[in-house]
Symmetry: C2
Subunit: 233 residues, 2 copies
């Protein structure tokens, strides 16, 4: 159930900031802009569901999208968050498979849909684009492999500390060292791969240990190198 309201402002649907498109010719970039279609998505909207057939990929120009898989008992496993500058849904599209994840808006967003045909056109005509795309997928694959190792070998405590540091890298802090992404305890648990209660208990331990400060969903970093130590990095 997608909630597409009015068209987004021009500057919010501008793709010129995307590294991926840096090497396009003027013609190719114009074609891209002509064939894209950008929309506003409200928080809570599902962009696409696991198992659906995709017609294109999306560029995130604003907001935050949660990408997750549904495992046993419908428990979510969060694979990553996409924000301004990221692309989503490209994996299933390129491998010609059904979507293996669900994408849900967790912060009002603007997404630009690029049709499969356009993607194919770019791959066929601009090797630098393909090359760049390859690099993006390969990086994501490394991150996935790293995460497999972590999740298989580290304790929940270590993983939670690591996830917090990861969030810090991907979503800037405000001038008070407070994380600018608001996640529920359950979402944190679904990143770490643990129970909600465990996250709650560990967060309050981190707080006791003066590593972080908590205020509702706001997380403020007090001792980053301490967290690194807990995460065994």
């Amino acid at each position: 159930m997608r909630t597409t309201t009015k068209r987004p402002a021009e500057e919010e649907s501008n793709l010129s900031g995307f590294q991926l498109f840096k090497k396009l010719t003027e013609d190719e970039f114009n074609r891209l802009n002509y064939e894209k279609s950008c929309s506003l998505y409200k928080k809570g909207t599902i962009v696409y569901r696991e198992g659906s057939r995709l017609t294109g990929f999306y560029c995130v120009t604003k907001g935050i999208v949660k990408i997750f898989k549904t495992g046993i008992d419908g428990k979510e496993q969060i694979i990553r968050f996409a924000k301004r500058g990221d692309i989503i849904a490209y994996r299933s599209l390129l491998s010609q498979e059904l979507a293996c994840t669900t994408a849900k808006i967790i912060d009002d967003a603007v997404l630009c849909h690029i049709p499969y045909q356009t993607l194919l056109y770019l791959i066929q005509n601009n090797w630098q684009f393909s090359h760049h795309m390859l690099q993006i997928v390969c990086r994501e694959l490394r991150e996935a492999n790293d995460y497999i190792t972590d999740i298989a070998q580290k304790t929940v405590r270590e993983r939670l500390a690591e996830v917090l540091l990861l969030l810090k890298e991907n979503f800037e802090l405000d001038n008070q060292n407070t994380l600018q992404i608001s996640l529920t305890r359950e979402e944190l648990a679904n990143m770490v791969g643990t129970a909600t209660e465990s996250v709650i208990r560990l967060l309050s331990e981190f707080k006791q240990d003066k590593l972080i400060e908590l205020q509702g969903r706001k997380i403020k970093f007090l001792n980053i190198s301490g967290l690194r130590k807990v995460a065994s990095i």
Copy 2:
């Protein structure tokens, strides 16, 4: 310490069976053959190590290669096994990063080294090659994401059953339903992400439940749908 003995037989270094190269022109294929260099690798040989800079990728034309990451305390996490028809080391090469995994021969192998320059040449000149490469990486990324979800949500028992089924898919059985890949208990543990002792205990439980039969490292499948049930597939 690479143990490259004599050159492999001609038919063992033939790349024409690789899907990846199916769409090359005759010229491109000749160039590939001219620039490749194939060698025999003995069991136990390290092809490349985590952290090293790679000069090309490898096509596996014979044997089995174990790809793993080294985690806490030097504990291995096996990412995958590569066999005839697979390529390895391409991820780090494409993303221009240092190797994030180690590759070790576990069954005498023949690998063909393709220099980075050749890879780049193909990407620049043959969009179908790039496209195929993209599909390969994307598939591997899906598998990695699937595995993250499994490892985060399933029990060790479920994961072990799943790993056995996975091995069955990737390495044929002989006519007695016996797995044609020989792994130590520790290697199984390093795939599942658990302790060696746990694998041993669970395997003998599977045996008691008449799901498998054990004879040293040989694993014979007796009840595949039963295993599927245990794996929650």
